[in-house]
């Protein structure tokens, strides 16, 4: 096939060497993207000294369970994993529900101040999280929510990006006539939302859910601020704690933990990658 392409058919056909160059750069980029995942696994499956082996060790070993056993001695790994799962699920369910409701209202209802309120929602996207961190911490302390999952879940229950994204999707995907027909038939507002709109927009809800789940799962700053007790640590904090052991760093242990913590998200991503990427790109364009 490529031999035919040597003869330039179109004025801007690159020819064989141009194509090879393209492939080379693209594949190099892909290798750089993927290598750290492989390296994580290599270190996690080899013994302690493997990280700084000269020349670098690139083969997978058989020490994974030995390394992982040391993780379980040092940290409540599965507890932390469970905590992350709980927090991320709670936030995600809530975000998907409230953002869909709000997005639906902004897309399909007329009410005074609608445009202004929507612009306000968008504007909140540019305010850095750190600006409000100290007072939020104080509020949490006043509510006695420090070191509790409520501090992680409640402030994150709905967000501007989700509202924006659901509004865009609902405007395009849900026909207004369908909603009006539902009204004429005497359906309540929430009932119409639930029975007419939601079934149509499930893919968008799923995408928002996955994107949001990943964000919460990977959050580090806020959990670091509010969580105090080991048993409440999310997986990110637990991983970071493994890294601060004073008696020499046990990279085999650290990487077996990191790999195990990364794997679930990686699998979910690979299963839903098309949705995730579509969600990412369609959310970003309109601003």
């Amino acid at each position: 096939m490529s031999t035919l392409r040597i003869f330039r058919k179109k004025p801007d056909d690159l020819g064989l060497f141009g194509k090879l160059g393209f492939y080379f750069v693209l594949i190099l980029g892909a290798l750089v993207s993927v290598f750290p995942f492989y390296w994580m696994f290599v270190v996690g499956t080899n013994d302690k000294g493997a990280v700084f082996h000269v020349p670098p060790l690139l083969t997978i070993g058989d020490q994974f369970f030995v390394n992982f056993k040391r993780v379980l001695e040092k940290a409540d790994f599965f507890q932390a994993l469970g905590n992350s799962l709980f927090v991320s699920s709670m936030v995600t369910i809530s975000v998907v529900f409230f953002c869909t409701l709000a997005g639906y209202a902004f897309a399909k209802y007329e009410f005074p101040g609608k445009n202004m309120l929507f612009i306000f929602v968008i504007a909140t996207l540019i305010v850095p999280q750190q600006l409000g961190v100290l007072p939020t911490y104080v509020i949490m302390a006043k509510l006695h929510w420090i070191d509790s999952f409520k501090a992680l879940v409640v402030p994150a229950m709905v967000n501007a990006f989700g509202i924006f994204w659901m509004r865009q999707y609902i405007s395009a995907a849900v026909p207004t006539e369908l909603i009006e027909a539902g009204r004429i038939d005497g359906g309540g507002h929430f009932r119409i939302f639930w029975n007419i709109a939601v079934p149509v927009i499930t893919p968008a809800m799923a995408t928002l859910g996955i994107l949001n789940f990943m964000t919460v799962w990977n959050d580090f700053f806020w959990p670091l601020v509010v969580l105090k007790n080991k048993e409440h640590y999310t997986i990110q904090i637990a991983l970071q704690q493994l890294f601060t052991t004073r008696d020499g760093l046990d990279y085999g242990m650290i990487m077996s933990a990191t790999f195990t913590a990364t794997l679930p998200l990686l699998i979910v991503f690979l299963l839903f990658s098309r949705w995730v990427i579509a969600g990412l790109t369609s959310g970003a364009i309109k601003s």
Binding site: K10, P11, D12, L14, K19, Y23, L26, G29, S33, P36, F37, W39, V43, V51, F52, P56, F98, C99, L101, A102, F106, Y109, E110, F111, P112, T124, V127, Q130, L131, G132, V133, L134, P135, T136, I139, A141, V158, I163, H189, F190, N218, F220, F221, L224, V225, Q236, L239, Q240, F243, T244, Y251, I254, M255, T258, T262, L265, L266, L280, T281, I285
Partner: protein, 316 residues
């Protein structure tokens, strides 16, 4: 749910209070209210309180004491604050500028070079972004170790080893690399979706006019991609100013190292002022400074892109 029952008997006699229009307005306000309630408590109120707090001396426990601009004096006369400031800018530049060029290059190649494995490449390029920053930092801290793979490669091509975990530049290079690894593919995918939105017939007519590949890139692709470039640059700039996890974890090996001067950033400074030293006033002042810098850079970004748009418009 009780609304229809209330409304129907009234509808017969006179104009009911809950007209159809009123009810749908109330519904809409109810649907959007969770965001506005939560944002007022955990977003808006804290923002104003941060500004207020920056004029007080406070340890988050005892009484607050008004000190005027003293917190700002304190941080601006603290060399560590300025180191954190310049570190943030230097690492921001090192991590963002090459990243955007690389992402553009990858997107253009992916768009024009071939169409066959586009989906696979998109997934592979996006993978770094789904990994937690903590995991990324842990992996790179092995690669950037004194006897790690990067130094081995450097030695292999005849260069000296670099102290990536303690040197002034070493730490910055290591941290910027982590940022780049995480975000280059993500931005490439954003750019790619921008490229795909450019109508193909523009290229066809340019080709008929005799424009070569480079001319097409300069006078069609880049101008039409501009909204995406502005968006990505803005997002990366804001992200770079908030850099925290990478330096915190990378330099935190000994437990207290996260404020080491080589890699301290504005957010790390803020974090350690508030949650390590208990100085909420100076931490609030730092947050305000961070906010001002963010605004400054966003405005600069807008001005530069607007200037570019005008010249672009003249050409076209």
């Amino acid at each position: 749910m009780a609304e229809p029952v209330l409304a129907s008997p009234h509808a017969e006699s006179k104009r009911p209070f809950l007209t159809e229009q009123r009810r749908s307005r109330i519904t809409a306000y109810t649907f959007i209210s969770p965001f506005f309630i939560l944002f007022s408590i955990f977003g808006l109120y804290p923002i104003f309180f941060t500004f207020y707090l920056s004029f007080f001396k406070w340890d988050a426990l005892g009484p607050m004491k008004y000190v005027g601009f003293k917190n700002y004096d304190l941080i601006t006369s603290d060399p560590t604050f300025w180191i954190s400031f310049s570190n943030t800018l230097i690492m921001g530049l090192m991590g963002t500028v090459p990243q955007i060029f690389l992402a553009l290059l990858l997107a253009v190649l992916l768009h024009s070079g071939m169409t066959k494995f586009k989906k696979t490449f998109r997934i592979l390029y996006f993978m770094p972004n789904i990994t937690s920053i903590v995991a990324v930092t842990l992996v790179f801290s092995t690669l950037f170790g004194n006897n790690g793979m990067i130094n081995w490669l450097l030695n292999g091509v005849g260069l000296d080893s670099m102290a990536f975990n303690s040197g002034w530049w070493g730490v910055k290079i290591a941290i910027s690399t982590m940022v780049m690894w995480r975000w280059t593919g993500y931005n490439a995918i954003l750019f790619l979706s921008g490229l795909q939105s450019i109508p193909m017939d523009l290229y066809e007519s340019a080709r008929i006019d005799g424009a070569n590949r480079r001319q097409q890139l300069i006078s069609i692709t880049l101008p039409l991609l501009k909204p995406f470039i502005i968006f990505v640059t803005l997002q990366s700039t804001i992200g770079a100013l908030q850099l925290f996890t990478e330096p915190y974890v990378f330099l935190g090996q000994s437990g207290t190292g996260s404020t080491r001067q080589e890699g301290i950033t504005m957010v790390t400074y803020l974090y350690s002022e508030a949650f390590r030293n208990g100085f909420f006033g100076t931490a609030a002042a730092t947050a305000v400074m961070l906010f001002l810098v963010t605004i400054l850079f966003s405005v600069l970004n807008m001005l530069i892109s607007r200037g570019g748009r005008e010249t672009g418009g003249k050409k076209a």
